[in-house]
């Protein structure tokens, strides 16, 4: 529509009152048409959403089926994730660590500091034992 109108009037020329009247009538018609189209679209959208909500209320079994389907999808996704090969673990992470007069929290901190200083990932290091050295009195 605007392509047809584009060449009709020059913005730098005066508009005759009668032309202005015609233009105003077309303009208000355009505004009403556009907004009424939007009104219908919104109304239709509302009807669709309301009817699907009502359908679910009326037929709880359908809702149950939907929930089941969703649950199945979630389960399938979990299975997929579990089926993926586990990340390879570096040698040396296995085995036991002997703690002598050291609490687990301190041991974890020490291992982290050592790994950081060496610039080696913690799972590539093997700690055999950590012993607390008593201060000489």
């Amino acid at each position: 529509m605007d392509l047809i109108l584009a060449s009709v009037l020059n913005k730098d020329e005066n508009v005759a009152p009668l032309d202005a009247l015609y233009l105003a009538l077309i303009g208000i018609a355009v505004v009403f048409v556009v907004l009424i189209v939007l009104m219908l679209v919104i109304w239709l959208m509302g009807k669709i959403f309301d009817s699907s909500a009502k359908l679910r209320e009326k037929h709880p079994e359908l809702n149950q089926k939907l929930q089941n389907a969703k649950a199945k999808i979630m389960f399938w996704k979990k299975e997929q994730a579990q089926a993926e090969p586990a990340q390879e673990v570096a040698n040396g992470t296995c085995g036991e660590l002997k703690l002598i007069n050291v609490e687990e929290r301190d041991a974890a901190m020490i291992m982290a500091i050592v790994a950081d200083n060496l610039g080696t990932p913690l799972n590539e290091l093997r700690f055999i034992s950590i012993k607390k050295v008593e201060d000489e009195k």
Partner: protein, 396 residues
């Protein structure tokens, strides 16, 4: 070294001396107008976020001598076009900021912020609100006819004046900068001033055109709108309306983009920025640079006076149109729609809706119309953007 000569030159270069030059009195009048707007913004709290900026820009640009350091109005009204190279090299601060107005960037950015702050829920729950939003746009076209009848304005100017009736500042600026940049200052000032004066302008016509029974009509709560609908709406509107009227795309596209940021739920940071930081920055730049265009030499004319009067007529006609269609819907719906929400169809959000609510509460203390009036109010934003798009398409 002649000290007397130095002092004489210093005195002659001062603004006080320049007031004495021919047409210096015009600057004094504009400074008084700026003071009045500052009073309205600060003391009366009329749209202070914009009015204070506009008033201060007006003040700066009308101080003789000082204005040359900040803004060059002749550069922007040059019929040969704007030399942006010169503006960037030799322009003052307000010249640089004005580029955003001239290119239409600020109104679009403001629309992103407005979209991010708008809840279309009330309109989606009651689609008939859109009819009220459309009705209030009749004021635009009635003023267009009036402006054309005066014979004092070109088609572009008449279109720009008429959009004041849309009660939508950014849209008025966006349209005027394209169709009639020479009258941008009076249009921007009139549009924002009347928007600020809505609580004073609308109530007398609301009382005049509605009966007590109509004003007391209680509206029932409409349906609840789902999140999905709110997300789909801005996308649908953009596609449908921009395909129908491509010239409306910059404004409506930005409005709907901002709204999508708010509703989609995954861009909270962007929505927050659009609503606050972006909106505040653009409002700051827009206010002061629009105010700067109100230079005495070009502002104090008979045309400005006619624009101010036509703008006022536009606001009144828009309010009346909305109320009349509201009355029609009241009859059609058998009293389920309160006609007071019709006046909220002018797009000054949320001021017009608040006025409808206050009027409703005055006659029935349990009648809260705010959410019902927000429907036509936001529909009015879309309506005025469509009206502007139509006028742009006609006069481009």
């Amino acid at each position: 070294m002649d000290i007397g000569e130095i002092l004489k030159n210093l005195g002659q270069s001062s603004g006080y001396y320049l007031f004495g030059e021919p047409e210096g009195w015009k600057s004094i009048i504009m400074i008084i107008v700026a003071f009045f707007f500052l009073f309205l913004g600060i003391k009366k709290k009329f749209e202070p976020l914009l009015l204070v900026g506009i008033a201060f820009g007006m003040l700066l640009t009308n101080l003789p001598g000082a204005s040359d350091q900040l803004f060059h109005s002749d550069w922007w009204t040059n019929p040969a076009g704007v030399n942006y190279g010169e503006v960037l090299q030799h322009g003052g601060l307000l010249d640089i900021l004005y580029i955003g107005v001239k290119t239409g960037v600020y109104p679009c950015l403001i629309f992103i912020g407005v979209g991010a702050m708008t809840d279309f829920g009330p309109m989606l729950s009651r689609p008939s609100s859109l009819v009220l939003g459309a009705a209030a746009q009749m004021g635009i076209y009635l003023v267009f006819i009036l402006a054309a009848c005066t014979g004092a304005f070109t088609g572009g100017e008449a279109a720009s004046i008429s959009i004041i009736a849309g009660a939508d500042g950014p849209t008025a600026i966006f349209l005027t900068k394209q169709l009639a940049p020479q009258i941008l200052a009076p249009i921007a000032v009139a549009a924002y001033s009347y928007m600020a004066l809505i609580p004073l302008l609308q109530p007398p016509f609301m009382r005049l055109l509605t009966t007590k029974k109509e004003r007391m009509a209680v509206m029932q709560t409409s349906r609840t709108v789902s999140k999905k609908e709110k997300i789909i709406f801005p996308i649908l509107v953009t596609v449908i309306v921009c395909l129908l009227l491509p010239s409306v795309a910059p404004l409506l596209g930005c409005l709907m983009f901002g709204n999508l940021l708010k509703e989609c739920g995954v861009t909270e940071r962007l929505s927050d920025t659009a609503q606050n930081a972006l909106m505040n920055i653009v409002t700051l730049f827009l206010g002061i640079s629009v105010g700067a265009t109100a230079v005495a030499a070009t502002f104090l004319t008979t045309k400005t006076l006619i624009i101010v009067v036509l703008g006022l007529a536009g606001f009144v006609l828009a309010t009346i149109s909305g109320l009349l269609i509201g009355k029609f819907l009241y009859v059609v719906s058998k009293g389920k729609i309160n006609p007071l929400i019709g006046s909220a169809g002018v797009s000054a959000v949320p001021m017009a809706a608040r006025v409808s609510n206050q009027m409703g509460l005055k006659y029935n203390q349990n009648n809260y119309l705010l959410m019902h009036a927000m429907g036509p109010n936001v529909a009015g934003v879309i309506g005025s953007a469509v009206a502007a798009g139509f006028l742009l398409a006609v006069f481009s």
